[in-house]
C-alpha cells in the first residue's frame, strides 16, 4: 500500500477517522446508558488493562511506522540532502511579494524537484494547491534559516502557489477578496498516467 499524493492519503484518513469517531461516540454512549442500568450488563468484549495499554502504545508508534512505509515523501524529506534533484527552483519573498524563478514551471512526471525559498522579512509559508483547492504540500518559510522541500510529483495537474502561513493583513487586498500572494497555475506536471505514476 502506497499513497502517491495527498488526495489518496487524506481520503483514506477521512474514512479511518470517521469510523473511529463514530466508534468512540458509540462506546461512551453505550457506557453511559449501561451506567444507569440495574442489571449487570454483559461485556461485548473483555479487554485486560495491559492489552489496552499495549494497544495505545502500538497505536501511537504504529501510526508513524505505517505512514513511513506508505507515504513516499517522508523518507524522501529526511534524506533530501543526499538526493540529487532533477531540478532546483529558488524563490524569494519580500513584503508579501514573491520573486519567482520563472513565470511557469513545467515538471515531468516522477521528477524530483527541490523548492528553495528565502524570506527577507517575515515568516511565510510555501504551499501548492490543486485547482479544486486541495493541498498538494506545504512548508513553513522562516527568515534566516533554510527552507527547502524536495518533492516528487506522480500525478498530472496544474497547481497554484500561495503562502500557507499568516504574515499580516497585507497578504490581502483591502476588501479581503484577493490573496495577493496567490500565483495562479504556477506549476504544471505533465507526462503521468491517468491514475498517477510514470507512463
Amino acid at each position: 500500500m502506497t499513497f502517491t499524493n495527498s488526495v489518496e492519503l487524506l481520503a483514506f484518513h477521512n474514512v479511518a477517522y470517521t469510523i473511529y469517531a463514530f466508534m468512540i461516540i458509540s462506546i461512551i454512549a453505550w457506557f453511559g446508558y449501561n451506567l444507569t442500568q440495574k442489571e449487570k450488563v454483559k461485556s461485548v468484549v473483555r479487554i485486560p488493562f495491559y492489552t489496552y495499554i499495549a494497544f495505545l502504545v502500538a497505536g501511537g508508534v504504529g501510526h508513524h511506522i505505517f505512514t513511513y512505509n506508505t507515504i513516499p515523501w517522508v523518507s524522501e524529506d529526511i534524506t533530501r540532502h543526499e538526493i540529487k534533484p532533477d531540478a532546483t527552483y529558488n524563490f524569494e519573498i519580500t513584503k508579501h511579494k514573491w520573486k519567482l524563478p520563472q513565470k511557469k514551471i513545467i515538471v515531468q512526471c516522477g521528477q524530483k524537484i527541490m523548492f528553495n525559498v528565502k524570506s527577507n522579512d517575515l515568516i511565510y509559508g510555501f504551499g501548492l494547491f490543486r485547482q479544486d483547492g486541495t493541498m498538494v504540500m506545504q512548508m513553513q518559510v522562516n527568515p534566516g534559516s533554510r527552507n527547502d522541500l524536495l518533492w516528487t510529483f506522480m500525478h498530472n495537474g496544474v497547481f497554484d502557489l500561495t503562502s500557507t502561513e499568516y504574515s499580516g493583513p497585507r497578504q490581502y487586498s483591502e476588501d479581503g477578496k484577493i490573496d495577493l500572494m496567490k500565483v495562479k497555475k504556477l506549476v504544471e506536471v505533465v507526462g503521468c498516467k491517468e491514475n498517477g505514476g510514470k507512463k
Binding site: 495527498s6 492519503l9 487524506l10 484518513h13 477521512n14 477517522y17 468512540i24 461516540i25 461512551i28 457506557f31 453511559g32 451506567l35 444507569t36 442500568q37 488493562f49 495499554i53 502504545v57 497505536g59 501511537g60 508508534v61 508513524h64 505512514t67 513511513y68 507515504i71 515523501w73 517522508v74 524529506d77 522579512d121 517575515l122 515568516i123 509559508g125 494547491f129 479544486d132 483547492g133 493541498m135 498538494v136 504540500m137 506545504q138 512548508m139 513553513q140 522562516n142 527568515p143 534566516g144 534559516s145 533554510r146 527552507n147 527547502d148 500557507t164 502561513e165 499568516y166 504574515s167 499580516g168 493583513p169 497585507r170 497578504q171 490581502y172 483591502e174 476588501d175 479581503g176 477578496k177
Partner: protein, 558 residues
C-alpha cells in the same frame, strides 16, 4: 413566582450567606462566562465571514485588518479570559476544600480575577481599536512589524497579556502557599513529604514496592489525587507564564525602540529559534496543564459522583508525573513543517514523545470510566452527563492531533482547519468545557449554599445543543481542512462554503446554548444576587467545609 421576580431575586440564592472564598470564586466564574459569550460571538463572526459572499454581516468584518484582529484576540479571550479564569477559580476553591485548609490569601485571589479580566480587556481593546493582529502565535518578527500594525496597539496588547500573566503568577503563588501551609491535616507534614506527594513520587514508590513485594511507601499520601494534579499542572502554568511574559517583553522592547526613532534590527532574533522557544512555552498549556488539570478533574469528578475511591490510584499518580515530563518534550510537533528544524527533534519530540499523549490521556480515560463502572447503577445527573461529554471530547480530539503529529501527514495538513477544528476546538469546547461544566454542577450547591438551579430542562437543552454543536462544528471544520482549507487564511469567495455553512449552523447552536446557560444561571441567582457576588463578603472565612474552631486553630498556627 413571576418571571420578573425570579429574574431580580433568583430562586433561593442569598449572597449575604456566602463567605469570602465562595464570593471570590463566583466573581471569577461570572467573568469567565461573560468572556465565553464574547469568544462565542467572535467565533461566529469568523465562521460567518468565511461562508462566502452571502454572509449577512457588515462588510467591515471581511476586511483583513478586522478579520485577523478578531482572530488574534479570539484565543486570548477564550483561553485566558474564560478558561484560565474558570479553572483558577475552581482550583482556588478546591485546594482549600480538599486539603481542609484556608486559602492562603483572598486578596490575592481577588487580584487574580481582576488582573486577568483587565488584561484580557486590554488585549481585546488593542485589537478592536488599533487592529493589532499578529495572532496568538506571535511569530517573530510579525508582532514588532510597525509597517503593518500601529505601535500603540502592540504596546497595549503586550501590557494586557503581561497583566494576565501577573494574575497567573498570583494564582500559582496562592495555590502553592496553600498546599505547603503546615496547618490542619498537614501540620505534622514536612515540606519534603508534601513535595514527594505533589510530584506523585509516592505513587511511583508504592507501585515499585508492590512489584518487589514490600509494604507500600505511603498508605495515606499527603495530598489527595486531584490536588496532586493541580500541583503538577501548575508547574506547567508557571513555565508557560514565564515564556509568554518573556516573549511579550521582547516585543515591547522592540516597539519602544521603534517609537524612540532608533528601531532595533529584527533579524537579530532568529525566527526559528524564537518559534522553538515560544512553542515550548505555549505547548505547556495545550499539551501540559490542560491535559493534567483535565485528568485531575476527571478523577475528582468520578470520585465525587460515585462516592468511591479511584480505581488504580497509584497508577494515576504516576501517570500524572509522566504527563508532566511528556509535556516538556513535545513542542516540535508544531515545527514538523519547518525544514530548518533538526530531523531528530522532529522524530523524537515531534512524533515519538508526542505519541505518549495517547497513552497518558488514554490511561486517564480508562481509570475514570472504570471508577464509574464499578459504582453502577448511577443516576444520570447533569454532572455525569457533562463528564461523559468531556470524555467524548478528548476521545475525539487527542487522536486527531496524534494523526497530524506525523511527518507524512503534517506535510499535507499543517496549518489547515483540521488541527484547529477537529483537534483544538473539539478539545476545548467539548472536552475541556464539558469537564468544567461537570465540575460546575458538582460545585454549584457547595459554592452557592444549595441554590436551586432555575430549570433542569434548560440545563438539558444546553447540554445537547452544546455537545452536538461542538462536535459538529469541529467535524465540518476538520473536513474543510482535509479539503485544503487553511486555518489562518481569509476566504471570501465561498471556496469552502458548504462546510462553512454547516460549521456556522453548529456554531450557532453553541452560541444559543451559552445564552440558555446564562439565562438559567441569572434566573437562579437573580440580578440582585449577581450584583451581590461583587460586594464585599461579611463572612471573611477563606475556606469551606472546615469547622469554625478548626479554622480558628489553623489561623492561630499561621
Amino acid at each position: 413566582m413571576s418571571f420578573v421576580n425570579t429574574l431580580i431575586n433568583g430562586t433561593n440564592f442569598d449572597h449575604k450567606s456566602l463567605n469570602a472564598l465562595q464570593k471570590v470564586t463566583l466573581r471569577a466564574v461570572v467573568m469567565s462566562f461573560l468572556f465565553f459569550g464574547l469568544v462565542a460571538i467572535e467565533g461566529m463572526i469568523m465562521r460567518m465571514v468565511v461562508t462566502g459572499p452571502a454572509n449577512p454581516l457588515p462588510k467591515m468584518f471581511s476586511h483583513p485588518e478586522h478579520y485577523f484582529s478578531i482572530m488574534t484576540v479570539h484565543p486570548i479571550v477564550g483561553i485566558f479570559g474564560s478558561t484560565y479564569q474558570l479553572v483558577f477559580a475552581a482550583f482556588m476553591f478546591l485546594v482549600p476544600f480538599l486539603t481542609k485548609k484556608p486559602l492562603y490569601s483572598i486578596k490575592l485571589a481577588n487580584f487574580v480575577w481582576l488582573s486577568i479580566t483587565i488584561g484580557t480587556a486590554l488585549a481585546w481593546i488593542a485589537a478592536f481599536v488599533w487592529q493589532y493582529a499578529p495572532l496568538y502565535t506571535l511569530y517573530w518578527p510579525l508582532p514588532a512589524d510597525t509597517e503593518q500594525f500601529q505601535l500603540i496597539g502592540g504596546v497595549v496588547f503586550v501590557l494586557g497579556v503581561a497583566l494576565i500573566m501577573l494574575g497567573t503568577f498570583g494564582f500559582i503563588y496562592n495555590i502553592y502557599a496553600t498546599i505547603f501551609a503546615r496547618v490542619g491535616v498537614h501540620k505534622d507534614k514536612t515540606t519534603k513529604e508534601l513535595l514527594i506527594s505533589g510530584f506523585g513520587i509516592d505513587g511511583m514508590l508504592n507501585l515499585w514496592n508492590k512489584l518487589i513485594g514490600k509494604q507500600p511507601y505511603s498508605k495515606e499520601p499527603a495530598l489527595a489525587l486531584p490536588v496532586v494534579a493541580i500541583f503538577r499542572g501548575t508547574v506547567d502554568t508557571f513555565l508557560d507564564a514565564i515564556v509568554i511574559l518573556g516573549a511579550g517583553l521582547l516585543v515591547l522592547v522592540y516597539l519602544i525602540f521603534d517609537a524612540s526613532g532608533s528601531p532595533l534590527n529584527v533579524a537579530t532574533i532568529d525566527a526559528l529559534l524564537y518559534k522553538n522557544f515560544f512553542w515550548w512555552g505555549l505547548d505547556l498549556v495545550a499539551d501540559g496543564l490542560v491535559l493534567i488539570y483535565v485528568a485531575g478533574s476527571w478523577y475528582l469528578l468520578a470520585t465525587l459522583i460515585t462516592g468511591q475511591k479511584l480505581f488504580m490510584e497509584n497508577v494515576a499518580r504516576a501517570a500524572l508525573m509522566l504527563e508532566l515530563l511528556v509535556s516538556w518534550m513535545v513542542w516540535s510537533h508544531h515545527l514538523l513543517g519547518d525544514q530548518g528544524q533538526p530531523e531528530m527533534m522532529k522524530l523524537i519530540s515531534g512524533e515519538m514523545v508526542t505519541a505518549f499523549e495517547l497513552l497518558t490521556q488514554g490511561l486517564a480515560l480508562f481509570i475514570t470510566l472504570v471508577t464509574l463502572w464499578k459504582a453502577r447503577p448511577l443516576k444520570m445527573t447533569m454532572e455525569l452527563k457533562y463528564l461523559l461529554g468531556g470524555l467524548v471530547g478528548f476521545g475525539l480530539a487527542i487522536p486527531a492531533a496524534i494523526i497530524q503529529a506525523d511527518m507524512g501527514m503534517n506535510r499535507v495538513l499543517h496549518n489547515t482547519q483540521w488541527i484547529i477544528m477537529a483537534h483544538v476546538h473539539i478539545a476545548l469546547i467539548v472536552g475541556l468545557y464539558m469537564t468544567l461544566y461537570s465540575a460546575l454542577y458538582v460545585l454549584w450547591p457547595i459554592v452557592t449554599n444549595n441554590t436551586k438551579m432555575w430549570s433542569s430542562k434548560l440545563s438539558n437543552i444546553h447540554f445537547w445543543l452544546y455537545l452536538i454543536g461542538g462536535i459538529g462544528m469541529g467535524a465540518f471544520g476538520g473536513m474543510a481542512g482535509l479539503d485544503g482549507m487553511l486555518r489562518r487564511h481569509l476566504y471570501l469567495n465561498g471556496e469552502f462554503n458548504t462546510y462553512m455553512i454547516l460549521a456556522a449552523i453548529c456554531g450557532t447552536m453553541i452560541l444559543i446554548a451559552w445564552v440558555i446557560f446564562l439565562l438559567n444561571i441569572v434566573m437562579s441567582v437573580g440580578i440582585k444576587g449577581l450584583i451581590g457576588i461583587f460586594l464585599p463578603a461579611e463572612d471573611k472565612t477563606a475556606s469551606y467545609g472546615i469547622e469554625p474552631e478548626e479554622i480558628a486553630q489553623n489561623h492561630k498556627q499561621n
